[in-house]
Symmetry: C2
Subunit: 344 residues, 2 copies
DNA sequence: TTGAAAGCGCTAACAC
DNA sequence: GTGTTAGCGCTTTCAA
């Protein structure tokens, strides 16, 4: 607007602590102290500085701050399967919580051409305040890198014995056990498990929980088939399963998306009635599980609590505190499991 | 391993250009030149530097680089409706493309407590190389901020007349027109539109395209009902619609998720057959549209092309190039629209 | 071609 | 309490 220095308005946020200091008649260091809220500064000076900052529209430059402190205000989220509907909900909750805590989210997609291990170096360059990994595990080499840079890592919804990472997860075994009990009490005799990625902890825990609960009940052993967490697989696996073992009357699925595929195969390809002929249970409770077309009985992951604990871990300082936090899921009964006959 | 300077290994990525310079017997400035690939450096020196960098596992610090250059290697993605299944696919494609171009993604969730305008200042602090906004529009004030800092903004899947932003979008009007034609050719006479957020450009464009195509065909005017892009609304709107106008035989929905709600209401609450009694068309072609339980006829947004163009815009320099890019969608015929009777 | 040197905006001793 | 000063790791003149 005005063309001289007098009324000069620098483009937004090119304003530095020097500018503020000049206007407030204080040193730049003093400005730093009040902005970072760290160190002594007389209340009248503080007031002048705050006013000046306000007036100039001062915004601290996180790049500069990160450089000097050796740590940024950024939390990295590494995700490999953004498409699977569980992850968007998780991401929504995570980003919201992180932003509310005044930090920002750097998102790394570890799908397609990159693995988690590939992206870790890129993450670390940013001197992030923490790393949240969903979906896939971390090699010990990558975990060491993080540790050597003192960056806390939390594995969300993943388990891992060996690393020093924090772990926040739903109690998958317990959930699977509940699923088994529900189906068994509904009268299922011949059960199957359609799993996702075989070597993922999520899959293993769910399988183990289910298989052992069924075993404990003295039923025929569970037929297990595992490959990947997606709809297509749920469909194909179901077809294969029933071709092999036609009298299956209950299917527990590694996640909801697999269950949707199973349900559609059962109803539209195999002509089975659910739940009369076969019962189906999923895991996660993604939004579409509640849609009428599926109305899927499933185990809900306690996402709010999981996210909360995840952020706690990131900022935790006590090295002796437990590093693994397991939260029970919640059985959501809808209409894909046969109810027990009333013994009237 | 060894305890002296000789074999000393600094923790990963604490290694600076100084360290590399010392090992390569060159100046730190020279190292900068080869790393940034910018400026003259003799080939033997370059070789030594590259070897040294390799050997030490040197990684440039993006915070420092960003500070000096006044621009980071980060692209911000602002998203408000991560839950709606269209956005995860978009996000997956976006993040993958951005990472492949050697940049990183800072994700801002503009839902819950924050609007797009709220997050823009936070975005700008990071001196990002560009901002990609999905889901919601930008006030002109926020747009000015971006412009004053010389940060390109692209509105993905949004339109906006007034701002200087780039726009990449699917041709919503055309898609809606195709939907109308398909339904009409299948024999629909009494059509309705169930829209999402009334003042969003996506919604408006789709409504206008549909309404005018129906009008052009000389049919009864379209009944319009709009509120929000979600499943629940699709369900409720459908119930309300048929209570009001029972003879509707074709429903075009603002997006797939609304269509899922409509479908479920029609089938499970209203006892209608789809497509025999009423035809339904969605928009987006999210993954679940292909699932057997829905098998929804819809318009696919050309996401790959949209993402590609978005990144082109971010790096474009020609100020006279057109700033709006509209790409036609693709009609995906599945089973929710009645086929025309064959006039044999 | 190359190195020295001056910052980028900020934090954190360190003296006063 | 406060200002001065020395960097954080990097880019970029500017001389040599």
């Amino acid at each position: 607007m005005s063309e001289n220095d007098a009324g000069q308005i620098k483009p937004f946020s090119q304003i530095t602590q020097h500018d503020v200091a000049r206007l407030a008649n204080a040193s730049q260091a003093a400005v730093s102290r009040v902005i970072a809220n760290n160190g002594y500064v007389a209340s009248d000076v503080r007031q002048r500085i705050e006013d000046a900052a306000e007036q100039l529209g001062y915004r601290p430059n996180p790049l500069a701050r990160g450089l000097t402190k050796g740590q940024s205000n950024i939390i990295a989220v590494v995700m490999a399967d953004i498409i699977n509907p569980f992850y968007p909900i998780a991401l929504d909750a995570l980003t919201d919580a992180i932003q509310r805590s005044g930090r920002e989210v750097l998102l790394f997609n570890a799908a397609h051409h990159q693995t988690v291990d590939d992206v870790i170096p890129a993450v670390l360059k940013y001197r992030v305040a923490g790393i949240i990994i969903t979906t896939a595990l971390l090699s010990s080499k990558a975990a060491e890198m993080c540790e050597s840079m003192n960056v806390p890592v939390v594995l969300l919804s993943r388990h891992s014995q060996r690393s020093e990472s924090f772990v926040v997860r739903c109690d998958n075994q317990l959930g699977a056990t509940q699923a088994a009990q529900l189906m068994i009490s509904g009268g299922c005799k011949r059960l199957a498990y359609i799993g996702g990625r075989p070597n993922s902890s999520t899959n293993t825990d769910r399988r183990v929980g289910f298989v052992s609960a069924v075993e404990k009940a003295g039923l025929a052993p569970v037929t297990v088939i595992e490959e990947i967490f997606d709809y297509r697989w749920g469909m194909d696996a179901t077809a294969a399963l029933f071709a092999d073992v036609p009298d299956i009357d209950g299917v527990f699925c590694g996640d909801d998306v697999i269950a949707f595929g199973a349900l559609d195969c059962l109803r539209f390809k195999l002509g089975k009635r659910v739940p009369q002929d076969v019962s189906v249970v999923g895991f996660d409770d993604v939004p579409s599980a509640a849609w009428s077309a599926y109305d899927l009985t499933t185990i809900r992951q306690p996402l709010e609590l999981m996210v909360e604990k995840t952020l706690e871990f990131i900022t935790s300082t006590d090295p002796r505190a437990p590093r693994v936090h397991t939260i029970p899921g919640e059985l959501i009964r809808r209409s894909t499991v046969r109810e027990p006959l009333l013994k009237a």
